[in-house]
């Protein structure tokens, strides 16, 4: 489209002082799009035109904020030159806080598509854009993935500015900074970088800004599109960028010296760098009693190792090291296995695949058929595969428990799914030797990861004693507030 128009008018061209030419050029540039709405009028002896994008502008606000002052000006009987009128609209009339002056077609179309009302005056080669956005949005609702028991129940929504405001409401400090930049050559998506200027590492901030500038994707519709470009290694199964849908959670992360990146249209905020132990921290940890929070956190670590290793360990032990089981459990397993046609490893693979298929289907299917799905998936499938002797009861139990345990750490689910399968295959083929080899490789991978100079495994390794007060256990608030722990103060951080 751009190329075709180059012969006539270009986005980079300045607006014409002739109102008709400007409108015609705009219509031509936008291929006479249907939502391009114009309203002509005569004010103080000058021809004016108000341009709005249909459904992007709040029509009620337009009729109460723009029309009355312009009508009043016209009714006063004064006759003004076009330049004087524009100066009056721009400088004297109180219409809206958000106001700017587009001078080129590119600037004008950008504010037009962002939901501004633009006033053009015949004889003036620039416009006045007034922020009266009023498009339909989903309101602030409960968090979807990081729900909690106690504390705020507000979650981010799809409007970037609302999201920044949700954080700002919690941090009334001048140190909280949010900067909006446009990313994506085609979508020109607003992306906000938020941080605390007294906590953030300036070099890390510069790196994030540089990486955002260099993102080559033209259409950015969600944070996930830009996530790989902010990470140090793009092909890892463990992410180095955290995701949250909670403004209070994000505020806490920023206080630790992290940087948040929010994308217009996404109800999730990204923060970086992410440390491994943060997968196990939830908002409830800090609102509950420290003893209970510590207990739950230990359970989460236990569940994490269990869900990753349990199927592999069971298969390895059954196949290679049955002596590790107590005798009565071993006999029960043996009697169950005798009724099935497959090897233990094959059974485990079958059950895990069935669970993954059911999970994926459960995510995508319409909620109205959810009950039917639960009955077919949970009762019929689960019961029948055992009763017909396809797989044994212990395997179903192990895999089911491991799957449930994996939801205790929801952020790590993708990594757990892959790792669980790797452990299963290794354990089935080489027993404990295979499990140990895969475990060593996973450890090498996790321990080699660093994001923006911060080791993924910090503060456990490299070890920082102060970091241990909120790692495996959560100390009481009296201890936590003693000395702020930011990313900079961790051992092994490279600046």
């Amino acid at each position: 489209m751009k190329e075709n128009l180059k012969q006539k008018v270009n986005f980079k061209d300045n607006l014409s002082s002739d109102l008709k030419t400007t409108i015609l050029n705009l219509k031509e540039l936008m291929d006479d799009t249907n939502d391009f709405v114009t309203k002509y009028a005569k004010v103080a002896g000058c021809n004016i035109c108000i341009i709005t994008c249909e459904t992007m502008v709040n029509t009620a606000a337009t009729s109460t904020l723009i029309y009355p002052p312009l009508t009043a000006l016209d009714m006063s009987g004064v006759q003004l030159q076009p330049g004087e009128l524009m100066a009056k609209i721009n400088g004297e009339l109180l219409i809206a806080v958000e106001q700017n002056q587009p001078k080129t077609y590119e600037e004008l179309t950008l504010v037009f598509m962002s939901g501004f009302a633009i006033i053009l005056v015949d004889g003036v080669d620039y416009g006045v854009a007034i922020g009266l956005q009023g498009f339909a949005t989903r309101g602030v609702q409960r968090p979807l993935i990081h729900d909690n028991i106690r504390g705020a129940c507000e979650a981010f929504c799809e409007v970037l500015r609302f999201n920044v405001a949700l954080v700002r409401r919690r941090v009334r400090s001048p140190n909280f900074v949010s900067k909006i930049t446009k990313v994506g050559e085609y979508s020109r998506t607003d992306v906000a970088i938020c941080y605390f200027k007294d906590k953030v590492d300036k070099d890390m901030l510069r790196q994030v800004e540089e990486r955002l500038e260099k993102i080559p994707i033209k259409m950015i519709l969600e944070g996930g599109y830009i996530e790989p470009f902010l990470q140090d290694s793009g092909n890892s199964i463990f992410t180095q960028i955290g995701i949250t849908d909670r403004p209070d959670n994000l505020a806490a992360k920023l206080y630790d010296g992290r940087i948040a990146v929010m994308v217009e249209g996404s109800p999730f905020a990204m923060f970086l760098p992410l440390l491994f132990n943060e997968h196990f921290q939830t908002t409830d940890d800090y609102t509950e009693m420290s003893v209970y929070a510590s207990f739950i956190r230990l359970i989460k670590y236990f569940a994490f190792f269990l869900c990753m290793l349990l199927p592999g360990f069971f298969v390895a032990t059954t196949n290679f090291h049955p002596e590790l089981f107590p005798q009565h459990i071993l006999f029960n397993i043996l009697s169950a296995e005798q009724k099935t046609p497959f090897a233990v490893l094959s059974e485990a693979v079958i059950v895990i695949i069935i669970f993954e298929v059911m999970r994926e289907a459960g995510l995508r299917l319409p909620s109205v058929v959810g009950h039917a799905f639960s009955i077919v998936g949970g009762l019929v499938l689960g019961d029948i595969v055992i009763s017909v002797g396809l797989v044994s009861g212990p395997i179903v139990l192990i895999v089911a428990f491991s799957t449930i345990a994996s939801f205790v750490v929801p952020d790590l689910y993708p990594s757990i799914s892959v790792m669980r399968f790797a452990f299963l295959l290794a354990g089935g083929v080489l027993g404990l030797l295979g499990l140990s080899v895969v475990a060593a490789m996973a450890l090498f991978k996790i321990c080699s990861m660093s994001a923006y100079g911060v080791p993924y495994t910090a503060p456990l390794s490299p070890f920082t004693l102060k970091g241990m007060r909120d790692y495996f256990v959560r100390r009481g608030w009296h201890k936590l507030i003693k000395d702020d722990m930011t990313l900079d103060s961790m051992a092994g951080v490279v600046k």
Binding site: T317, Q327, L432, S436, V437, L443, F444, K445, P462
Partner: protein
Amino acid sequence: MDNTNNMTSMKTDAKISHWQLFALLSIVAFFAVIVPLPDLLHATAKFGVAQGNVFSMSRFVTLSVSTAIMSAIFLPLLLYSAKYPDNVLAPLPKWLKKVFAAVLILRLLYGAVYTVLQINSFLVQTILTYLTPVFLVIPIFAAALYGSYKGVQSTARIASPAVFVCVLTVIALSLMMWSKMDVIQLYSPIGAARTEGGHTVFGRIVADVAGNDALFVFIALSGVVRTRVDKEKDSVIKPQSFKAVLYSFPLILVLALWLNVIYNAILGRYVSAVLYPLYVVSTYSSFNLLERMDGIIATIVIIGGILKITLFLICIRILLGETVSRELESRKPIAKIITLIMAVIAAVWAYALIGKEPLTTAPAVKYALLACVAIAALLLPLIAVIFARRTKKNAQKHCTDTA
């Protein structure tokens, strides 16, 4: 040699702290404590139960004496590394550097091969009695190669929690076996050593000293340990690597002695008849769900072995970088290819030796190992100090002439 660190070309994140070096050295030493050398075990089989009593009370004597000897042997290296931040090869002329590096690389390769033999011997005697060698060698070296590609930081970051896990396992084992320990079964270590004979005890001491891998790891890694800048005198760099050895030695000695107490107090005279007493002791312990704790011990042995081999491959790469080209220390393809070649050589060598462990007890091999220790611990620091002083003198003379 001036006091500036020659490794400044290396990225800062490739440097480790002296605590991390301590963890790495401790893992290497602890592995040797829990998985004894196969040649000792073969000696056990050869001489019969009474003479091959490696873990009897005489172990207290052999451990104490061998630790004392190792401490004395380490002294020149420690004195050097307390003064100079670079590793001991740095001040040498290129040709001499290559000669010493070749010796060290060969010894490290042998260490990697030997570790595989240790793991194989342990697994075959304990949890995987019908293990095909190829299924041991390939996965172990694949994991070690992957680890070496990830760099020294990655291995060091695993080592710190790994030391903690090892200590915790020993404590857990002690608590679980507390009721089964009988101190009456302990007897005089000196008496035991006398009964077994000076020749046997001396042989074990020599084997302990000759088989000490920590020495070679320390030589290779002492140059990648972060130094501390004196805050008062901004330009004075304080080397830290020597501290790792000072912390590691006592820890390993205490763990080894305590484990020997557990073995003897639980197994009594039966300790003479077992090859891997830690494994046997762990089979007596019980978690409620798991019948025995030996699976955990086996896992520690395998992961510890992989860490050790990884570390050796990294050390080889660092030594090659020191002598041939700095490019080899990086993560560039050429460094990866060289490490791959080294891993393949070690794997083939290990595969050829599996099942033929008596070969490693050949006198020529033993003398070669002792010679390596003498070269690395005594000769190398001595020559390094001479060259370092000469370089410093020349630099001072050059400064005076220029002035």
